[in-house]
Amino acid sequence: MEINILAFGQIEEIIGKDSFTLSDVRDTEALKSKLSDLYPEMNRIPYSISVNKNIINGNHTLENGDEVALLPPFSGG
């Protein structure tokens, strides 16, 4: 199983790339905890997550091929 991950704004900067893949993350909670291990700086950013272009609330099961985006607070306008 492979999840496609997109990173934006400050998170893209922390991770150092705008997209990458991860395997073995069964849900968004697992993903967050993995990211927090890999990139401790992410702990200070209150980011949201979208799965296949829908922003999710709470935990969400991930499936092979899902597009998951890491969204720091919006600051348009």
Partner: protein
């Protein structure tokens, strides 16, 4: 409910006064319009920790942002008696003093246009997947934060 086509919102670089003028001029044929309300966001030369902002660079998650612009557009048409509505947002670098957001609502009477314009600006700033990177004069940067 979704009766209006998705419209082009993003513009590369600043939104020029001429673009705004043209947009206004296009409405002279719609003679049922009595009131236009326009909001323009302009990039400020803020001082942050002794550094002066010289520009903001905007990036987006385009598909998510375009869906949200469409949703806001539909909701505003539903909520307010509008004849016309346009939303434009910059992507890429917008220097200080130039425009990055242009919201334009038109209605028969003034209150609907004004209320709709405020409503749209509020939602755009809060809900649309756009990020601003504030670039300082020494080329360092910080990430823009919108007040909630």
């Amino acid at each position: 409910m979704s009766t209006h086509k998705k419209k082009k919102v993003f513009i590369e670089g600043p939104i020029s006064p001429d673009f705004i003028a043209e947009s206004i001029a296009h409405h002279s044929v719609k003679t049922n319009i009595g009131a236009h309300s326009i909001f323009l966001g302009q990039v400020r030369a803020d001082q942050i920790d002794g550094q002066k902002v010289k520009a903001i660079e905007y990036t987006t998650y385009r598909e998510l942002a375009e869906d949200k612009f469409h949703e806001i557009r539909e909701a505003a048409f539903e909520k307010f008696e509008l004849v016309c509505m346009h939303i434009y947002h910059s992507l890429g670098v917008v220097p200080c003093g130039e425009m990055c957001l242009f919201v334009f609502t038109s209605s028969k009477h003034r209150k609907e246009a004004q209320d709709a314009c405020n409503y749209i600006v509020e939602r755009v700033k809060k809900e649309v997947a756009v990020w601003g990177k504030e670039i300082f004069e020494n080329d360092s940067h910080t990430w823009k934060q919108n007040t909630v």
